[in-house]
Amino acid sequence: MLVRKYMKTHVYSIHATQTIAEAARLFVDKHIGALPVIDQDNRLLGIVYDFNLIEIGMPDFTRLLSHFEFLHDLGALEMTNPDAAELHRPVAAIMHPAVTVDETDSILLAAALLHKNSLNDLPVVDNQNRLVGIVSHVDISTAIMKDWLNE
């Protein structure tokens, strides 16, 4: 069972020089959770997940306290919306190195990588590191379970 068979080949991606605001626009319009960052040759440079953007507006204490379950009502703590300058930085400033799979890798490997890194989506690359697809945890886990049920 190879990743190639289960991946989505129509991938929304963004260029490293585009802005955080443009990334936010894509997340909202396409209702996606991950956005691979590429260069002009379609080579994968990194990835931004939805929570990388959300982080920009998070209160400081969330980075410092290990326990804050007691804050039931965050109403008073409105999120500080990032200002225009923040939103016009390039996505390269907040992207992370991507965990990837090769299109010829096994989907079990993809499942293990997703689980180990607590991710929801994995970009799929070819042997030239060009972006060729993306697989989500739902794509992979349902494929594996279908196999159990002999469907």
Partner: protein
């Protein structure tokens, strides 16, 4: 003579490396101790047996016992509970919030070490400040400063105090009699000046007070039962510390006994508890004792005493004030532990020449404790709060510390000088 010079050079080299921060002080003390033993063996004046004999196991036991209690206390959430509780009491008024959080910090740092205290209270302070819409910078500086101040008041509050107690033979009770009253006045002065800064920077008004109402301090207390047990055991230990001389008990037995009782009663995950113990400090002290033992064995102390004979002719209170300010200014620019280590042999030498050094030891405690407030790098607690603040939108800069921390150092040292002079001229004589 050659061996004395070599031993002295080795000691100064170790001190220099620690001061420059080129290598971890634990590694320096470790390697220094080994080299000292080798040097001593070559000249037949110091060896493994004598090195082990010069390790003060009473001090190590005391430290380890208190560290275990601390490690049991940390995960209970008690400090965070107190912080949220007083934040509600303050109704979001800046000066009131600063005084209350500062009081919690000071009291905690009398029993916990300064770094643990700020590591526990600083993040929840940032939370409180974000909830009520205040800039946390001044609160964080205040907490580091007040933690250093509170730490100077008890034997277990700060590692330099443990070193001084070991060298001068001071008990827990001695610290309560001599150090705590002087620190009390310094603490009032520190709160006063920090309060003025708060009023100047943030005004008197309550901010978004309503956001504090939804908080329930009880939910912050993660392990109420364990917190109660550790507090009881610590209270018992403090009570026994007060009567240790009458009971004929050494501090190590009291602290290790309390820690043992805590472990039996709380039944924590032992691996997790032991991970929270700062082993590097224990190893550092072990190496240091063996290193200084070598200095004493080869007779360096006698030579050093010759150089500073002049000091013995000064009136003791004058020498004390001098000691307080020199230590304070030095520990404003470097960590107070190496400063204390460097001064201990000097005071021991003066003592051997027949000078009454007891007031000087207290001057050392006060200077080492209060001097660290002066700069962003003056004490480990300062470094810790400023590196925490770097993860916020308003990081503390060294310039900011000069504006807000340095005045506190000057005022507290001035108050300490006045109370010290009065105390050692009339009250403690």
């Amino acid at each position: 003579m050659i061996v004395q010079i070599l031993a002295m050079l080795l000691f100064l080299l170790c001190l220099g490396i620690i001061l420059l921060g080129k290598s971890h002080r634990t590694v320096v003390a470790w390697v220094g101790a080994v080299l000292m033993v080798i040097l001593g063996k070559l000249f037949g004046v110091y060896d493994e047996t004598r090195a082990i004999a010069s390790i003060d196991f009473n001090t190590l036991g005391l430290l380890l016992g208190m560290m275990v209690l601390m490690a049991l206390f940390e995960p209970t959430g008690f400090i965070e509970f107190l912080a949220i509780w007083v934040a509600k009491l303050s109704r979001g008024r800046p000066v009131r919030l600063l005084v209350l959080l500062g009081t919690v910090t000071t009291i905690a740092s009398m029993f916990l070490d300064n770094v643990t205290t700020v590591v526990l209270i600083a993040p929840v302070t940032i939370l409180i400040c974000e909830l009520v819409g205040l800039n946390p910078m001044l609160f964080l500086v205040a907490e580091a400063v007040l933690s250093n101040t509170g730490g100077a008041s008890t034997l277990v509050g700060d590692p330099p105090n443990v070193l001084v107690a070991s060298a001068a033979g001071f008990t827990f009770l001695d610290f309560l009699v001599y150090s705590m009253p002087i620190i009390f006045f310094c603490w009032i002065a520190a709160l006063w000046i920090l309060g003025r800064f708060t009023r100047k920077d943030m005004g008197r008004k309550a901010r978004k007070e309503s956001s504090l109402e939804a908080l329930n301090p009880r939910e912050v207390l993660r392990e109420p039962l364990a917190a109660r047990k550790v507090l009881l055991v610590t209270g018992l230990a403090v009570l026994i510390f007060l009567f240790e001389e009458k009971l004929g008990m050494r501090p190590a037995l009291v602290a290790l006994g309390a820690a043992g009782l805590g472990l039996v009663w709380v039944r924590p995950d032992l691996d997790e508890t032991l991970k929270r113990i700062p082993w590097d400090i224990l190893l550092f002290f072990t190496g240091l004792f063996a290193l200084i033992g070598g200095l004493e064995a080869v007779g360096v102390m006698e030579i050093a005493a010759g150089w500073i004979k002049g000091l013995a002719n000064l009136p003791v209170v004058v020498a004390g004030v001098l000691m307080l300010w020199i230590t304070a200014l030095l520990s404003a620019v470097v960590d107070n532990i190496p400063i204390t280590i460097a001064i201990i042999p000097v005071l021991e030498s003066l003592g051997r020449m027949g000078m009454d050094t007891q007031p000087l030891w207290w001057a050392l405690v006060l200077g080492a404790g209060l001097g660290g407030n002066g700069t962003i790098i003056g004490a480990t607690a300062n470094v810790v709060v400023s590196s925490l603040s770097e993860k916020t939108r308003t990081p503390i800069t060294s310039v900011y510390w000069m504006k807000r921390g340095f005045p506190v150092m000057l005022v507290t040292c001035a108050v300490a000088t006045i109370v010290y002079v009065i105390g050692f001229t009339w009250v403690f004589r």
